[in-house]
Amino acid sequence: MSPNDQSTQDRTAPSSLHLAVALDGAGWHPAAWREPGARPGELFGARYWADLAHTAERGLLDLLTIEDAFGLQSGDHLTGSQRRTDRVQGRFDASLVAAFLAPLTSRIGLVPTVTTTHTEPFHVASALSTLDHDSHGRAGWRVQTSIRADEAAHVGRRVIPGVRRSELDTARGRALVAELFGEATDAVEVVRRLWDSWEDGAEIRDAATGRFVDRDALHHVDFEGRYFSVRGPSIVPRPPQGQPLVTSLAHGYAPSLLAARVGDVVFTTPHDADDAARIVTQVRTAERAAGRTAPPLRILGDLVVVLGDTDAEARDRLARLDARDPLSSDAAVLATTPSGLADTLLAWRGAGLDGYRLRPAVLPTDLDAIVDGLVPELQRRGAFRTGYTETTLRERFGLPRPASRYAAGADPALVPAPTPTGATA
């Protein structure tokens, strides 16, 4: 049986959508923090995050993601901070928020955003592996790159020249993006190797021979790429999932290729059903170009949601928000009822989407509406789970638990395995 057959067999019942929620500050609308239901004074408190996670888990959502960056929010991933005082500024380290949420939750996937541009792959591997241990197999990684000049200056190890949107499609812009994505590809590859560097069962505690580990089951990863070299093995034993879930956001072909090379789940930004079909085709094309042998990427569509009891109420809410501070969004913005949103989700799904990552415009208001309105509506239609059945996050996405690539007889096709940049240069 090929791995793909197995993954199809293991997948969550086809009737159930995958639903994730993207948590960020007071919500995805810049005026969210001024809404009546918002808790702007609590954004930098533990209780707020615990409450959001509990709500998401009550709604049986697949996973929650937590946004992050190495600089203040600017409303545009290309530009640095703008010294605005009228928007939410500041945020926690996402990986530690996820770690904090691990013992407070029991089923929902925890997926922090961690950049590959300014972090050490070795530390990232250890942190996510530990998150997986502490959450008993619910860890994921939202892989991100940083193109912002100010973030590079915060770290001080490299200079990244700023790039304007109009320059993205120039030779200079393309080279910079290629460099950052190449580094990200290498970083995920190193992290995945480190997760495999302890074979399952390496800890033997053999009193007879006095050996705590079987050192033949520990492996140097010996990664040498253009951007860094990492020797390994990991300091952390293999995580419960073997390979925690790797996710990333893709707006075009280059990031789709990154996801196809190293990811398990890709977030995309469809604006209608036809667009969703075009995106799915693009992702599948990238998978072929990458020579992907791992199970196909699970494709989720990102949507900003503004929910109301009636369409008019939802539209009024969005109008009120936009009047204060207009939203500019890469993802489609849907102002509708839970039932109307369910219609859209099911209609676009026909294009080949496996589910959605919903970005609540206002927290906790729109998360509450997702959990108390959308989820029951989808359940009524037989399109969403009525209870958590799987133990780990990989299982929830129908992904097998791969053996370590270093174990005898391991099937390397179960996880994406790109060629290091050093070898392709």
Partner: protein, 459 residues
């Protein structure tokens, strides 16, 4: 609340570590990775009203002769991740993590500690360690980039930078007033610029000021350079357990250095680590300890510990025979990687061991067992409480970071049997006061402008 004129003891707990002291073969020994182990340990420590939890660090697996060392506990979870998770299941206890200043960058460190401090309600502490070894560097972007002599320069500049980042947000920076539409007090919140030999960084920090302002800084340097660094920069010094007179000399030396650095000696706590072995009688405790120590320094471990001094393969020698009749080779490539060196002068140490073994008629293993039998309080709970109290009242230290040879349950009997005695004597808290770690330790609250303010006196 009644007051006592006796010095209040600081108590912490270390998680049994990746070294020969931890007896993994003990039937009571649990996982060193599983979340349940850390949760049990933390809840036990908090039940005992301890001041802080302490996690060590190791950024590469130990090797011997180039191969992963497989005899002791191997592997550990990520420190930040465990501490953030523990913040969710504890309310009062300090969360101290050992984090390397060489293979981390200030912006990320400042973000993580500020996040941990806020999520925990003001309980974060950082044990700053330095390293420069090439083998550890092999796991990181820059490799073994730092010269040995630059370790403390980098550590000092890291602390300066991290403190500048923590200070870049005032406690009033977040207004978050929906009515006026003002979220930040002004558009310059978070501005920072730090330059030195190690760093040239500038921009805006992204995490609001945490409850402690500055998480508590611990430092473990024992060399003269390390002591000076700790005296100048730290809130507490984590040292190795020493016999009473040595401990008092260390205490006096460090406090003199604190004074020389222009600080009030009361601003720095001295906290040695120590194991605890209890018994219902003194004899029972001694027997237990002898048995544990015998398992900690088994014949093979005796060879390996000797190899750390000799820096060469001694596996051909009989642990129950005399000391190896070969010279140490301190200048050879390191035979054992991933452990702090045991000696500055291998030839002198070997000579001292030879004299000791010759005088007492000891085998290699007996000699090693003697040399390594130091970091433990052994006795009845009363006796151990006496000793802890004696050290503190006589200014040999300000408290201890306690642990045992088994994880995670080793702390249980310390909390159940020793802590109550100290509480009865009025030298250890009966309950938490509800403050930050900094307040629990009686340390000054840092202002944003470089001066330290004494905390309000607790009633």
């Amino acid at each position: 609340m009644s007051r006592t004129d006796r010095k209040q003891i600081v108590l912490g707990a270390y998680f049994p570590g990746v070294n020969h002291d931890t007896v993994w073969s003990d039937p009571a020994s649990g996982s060193h990775i599983a979340w349940e182990s850390f949760e049990h340990w933390a809840r036990t420590a908090e039940r005992g009203k301890l001041d802080l939890l302490f996690l060590a660090e190791g950024l590469r697996l130990r090797t011997r002769g180039g191969e992963v060392f497989d005899q002791d506990v191997v592997g550990r979870p990520d420190t930040f991740t465990v501490l953030a998770a523990l913040a969710a299941v504890t309310e009062h206890i300090g969360l101290a993590g050992t984090i390397n200043s060489t293979f981390n960058e200030p912006y990320e460190l400042a973000r993580k500690f500020a996040t941990l401090d806020t999520l925990s309600g003001g309980r974060a502490a950082w044990n700053v360690v330095t390293s420069s070894d090439v083998p550890t560097g092999e796991n990181f972007r820059r490799g073994g980039f730092l010269g040995h002599h630059q370790r403390y320069e980098r550590a000092g500049e890291t602390l300066t930078a991290v403190r500048a980042l923590w200070d870049s947000w005032g406690s009033d920076a977040v207004v978050a007033d929906p009515a006026s539409g003002r979220f930040l007090r002004d558009g310059h919140v978070g501005d920072f610029a730090v330059s030195g030999h190690q760093f040239d960084i500038a921009g805006r920090f992204s995490v609001p000021r945490s409850p402690q302002g500055h998480p508590v800084i611990l430092q473990a340097g024992e060399s003269p350079a390390g002591r000076d660094f700790a005296a100048a920069h730290s809130d507490a010094i984590f040292s190795r357990y020493q016999r009473f007179e040595e401990a008092r000399a260390f205490h006096d030396d460090v406090k003199a250095r604190v004074r020389a650095a222009g600080r009030n000696p009361d601003e720095v706590r001295i906290l040695p680590s120590a194991g605890v072995v209890l018994g219902d009688t003194e004899d029972e405790a001694r027997e237990r300890h002898a048995d544990i120590h015998d398992r900690q320094v088994d014949p093979w471990t005796a060879i390996v510990l000797a190899e750390m001094v000799w820096n060469r393969d001694l596996s051909a020698f009989d642990p129950d025979g005399p000391l190896p009749d070969v010279d140490p080779t301190p200048d050879a490539p390191k035979w054992i990687e991933g452990r702090a060196p045991l000696t500055q002068d291998a030839h002198a140490t070997v000579a001292a061991w030879r004299e000791l073994a010759g005088n007492r008629g000891w085998s290699l293993r007996e000699t090693v067992k003697h040399v390594f039998d130091r970091a433990v309080f052994v006795g009845t709970p009363e006796r151990v409480a006496d000793e802890i109290d004696r050290y503190v009242q006589a200014d040999a230290c300000d408290g201890f970071i306690l642990g045992s040879h088994v994880s995670p349950s080793g702390l249980d009997e310390v909390v159940d049997r020793v802590v109550p005695i100290l509480q009865e004597r009025g030298v250890f808290r009966n309950d938490y006061g509800g403050g930050t770690l900094r307040e629990n330790l009686g340390l000054a609250h840092p202002s944003r402008f470089g001066q330290r303010r004494r905390p309000a006196v607790a009633s």
